[in-house]
């Protein structure tokens, strides 16, 4: 058989979908042809990656507010989705109740509604819960998008009285914890949870786990190299305990950096279970730019930041620029500069059209205690 003919059937051969004679002919060709063997190896790796993708995809769900959005559009209200959801809440006359009280009332109504087969009407009367409101406020706040460099994909919220605590996951895998004043519907504090240095023995363990897994083994044979590893704040959960908010991780996950063909990839490794969870691309450059409005460059935006006296003072004390980011979509006329001084961070918000600094705020960076519990630094 020629390589061209084999190539067209390799996928079916890989999945045992070829009848006996054809399969044998291909096996014979593969025993003699290095090039086709490499292609089979690559096909197998791709298929494995797709299966990993399918596995993580099976956990993806439509956002919880999607039904409300759709209802609005169908009833022809036609407002922007986030504003629309607040309008739904206002219109529904959502009651501001203590969390447990809401749950009890809803449970009671649910029982009644089931009898009459009108479960949907329970939602229409009360609207989404306080937790959903807290999550919505964070989702709307520009700070979340700027800190996470994009729209959060997931919010988990807990409520105590008039305070909401929302843990949000950003598109780059970082988490922020936001405190929300539910009465005024504003965010009051935000904590950014960052990746940490791995202990030496855990770094060796993570690399060992990776190298023992068949898929990374194939990639390493194909020329990929391990560049290092660090601890990921992943799979975070939030709980309220005695009025105090805690963020914790059920699992310890490391990120092992791999490099190939001028790119970097990140393999997530479960240290406790000894498994490779998935492999995702990591950018070779960081703080990806969205569209630059009015043609400002990185340097110009930093210069705007330097026009502020507080920023000048920070830089005189040794602060350096970690990143510069512009918004996109409805935030396209905003930019932010993240400064770092020791363990502290400041975010400088800039209005691009006016070329002015609108605020300079410190962003407390959380630290991990032993056992991977989270305590805000200043509490």
């Amino acid at each position: 058989m020629r390589c061209k003919d084999v190539g067209e059937k390799l996928l079916y051969y890989l999945n045992d979908e070829l009848a006996g004679e054809q399969g044998r002919a291909i096996a014979l060709h593969l025993s003699e042809c290095v090039r086709c063997r490499r292609e089979l190896e690559a096909l197998s790796a791709s298929q494995e990656l797709l299966r990993q993708g399918a596995s993580s995809m099976s956990k993806r769900v439509a956002p919880p507010w999607s039904w409300f959005e759709l209802r609005q559009r169908l009833s022809g209200l036609g407002r922007h989705r986030r504003v629309g959801i607040r309008a739904v809440l206002a219109r529904a006359g959502a009651l501001v109740l203590e969390n447990t009280a809401v749950q009890l009332v809803l449970a009671g109504l649910l029982a009644v509604a089931l009898i009459f087969g009108t479960v949907a009407s329970v939602q229409r009367i009360f609207g989404p819960s306080q937790e959903a409101l807290a999550a919505q406020i964070v989702g709307d706040a520009p700070e979340a998008q700027v800190l996470l460099e994009g729209e959060p994909s997931r919010h988990t919220a807990r409520v105590s009285g008039a305070v909401g605590y929302v843990l949000s996951l950003g598109p780059s895998g970082e988490y922020i914890l936001t405190y929300v004043d539910l009465d005024r519907e504003v965010t009051t504090r935000q904590y950014r949870l960052t990746a940490l240095t791995l202990e030496k023995e855990d770094e060796a363990k993570a690399t060992g786990i990776l190298e023992a897994d068949p898929l990374p083994q194939r990639l390493l044979r194909a020329g990929w190299v391990v560049k290092g590893a660090y601890l990921l704040p992943s799979g975070l959960k939030i709980e309220l305990s005695g009025g105090e908010v805690r963020v914790w991780s059920e699992s310890r996950q490391a990120g092992v950096l791999l490099a190939a063909y001028g790119r970097q990839w990140l393999a997530r490794v479960e240290l406790a279970g000894g498994a490779v969870l998935d492999i995702s691309p990591a950018p070779t450059r960081t703080y990806l730019w969205s569209s630059l409005v009015a043609g400002q460059s990185y340097d110009q935006i930093v210069d705007i930041a330097r026009s502020d006296a507080v920023v000048v003072d920070l830089m005189d004390r040794g602060a350096s620029v970690i990143s510069v980011a512009t918004g996109n979509g409805k935030m396209a006329d905003k930019a932010s500069v993240l400064l770092s001084l020791g363990e502290d961070r400041w975010i400088v918000k800039i209005d691009l059209p006016a070329a002015t600094v609108t605020s300079v705020r410190d962003v407390p960076v959380a630290t991990w205690g032993k056992g991977y519990f989270f305590r805000p630094k200043d509490e």
């Binding site: 797709l50 993708g53 399918a54 995809m57 479960v119 895998g173 995702s280 950018p283 960081t286 630059l292």
Partner: protein, 181 residues
């Protein structure tokens, strides 16, 4: 005797929506990769469901197939529009003079699935067979019925798609599959 109030049209539609929304969302995400575009597509798909009020006489399988087809077709429309307006990949954007900061790479994560990233090199019609096969686990004949194409065409597109993806995985310089195929 109290007459029980039956479910309204909207109640029935909501039940349908809740049952199928995640499936539609996952297809949209696989096809478009962008979360907010997938959310828009979820809406567009169900608006189409609401407006066309298809009659499947309780045949859930037929409705699901129809729903898959609508989602895929709408996704391909969006994908084609994006291609025409020239949405830039990051690497090309950097090549045109954008200046990222110099923070070390390991402090920033790109956690989008490698599999979704790899799908980038495929056009709409090749991407759809991969999404239906691997993300929804559908058989060749089912995919053929959904897309309204022969089973042989499904297999051939899948083969081309997988070979392109695997070549690209090993060498990112591999050319993308174009609509010309």
């Amino acid at each position: 005797m109290t007459k029980q109030r039956g479910p309204s049209d909207m109640d029935v539609f909501e039940a349908l929506y809740q049952r199928h929304k995640d499936m539609v969302f996952r297809t949209a995400l696989g096809m478009l990769r962008d979360e907010s575009e997938a959310q828009d597509l979820l809406q567009a798909t169900f608006i189409k469901v609401y407006e066309s009020r298809p009659k499947f006489d309780g045949d859930e399988d037929a409705f699901r197939r129809w729903l898959h087809r609508v989602t895929v077709n709408l996704s391909i429309d969006v994908y084609r529009k994006k291609k025409r307006t020239g949405a830039l990949s990051l690497d090309r954007a950097v090549g045109k003079g954008f200046q990222p900061s110099v923070e070390p790479a390991h402090s920033r994560l790109e956690t989008r699935d490698l599999a979704l990233q790899a799908l980038d090199c495929l056009d709409g019609k090749h991407r759809s067979v991969v999404v239906l096969k691997y993300f929804h686990g559908l058989a060749y004949d089912e995919i053929a019925r959904i897309l309204g194409i022969p089973q042989g065409t499904v297999k051939s597109r899948l083969n081309t798609a997988m070979r392109t993806m695997s070549a690209r995985l090993m060498d990112p310089r591999t050319e993308e599959v174009s609509d010309a195929l």
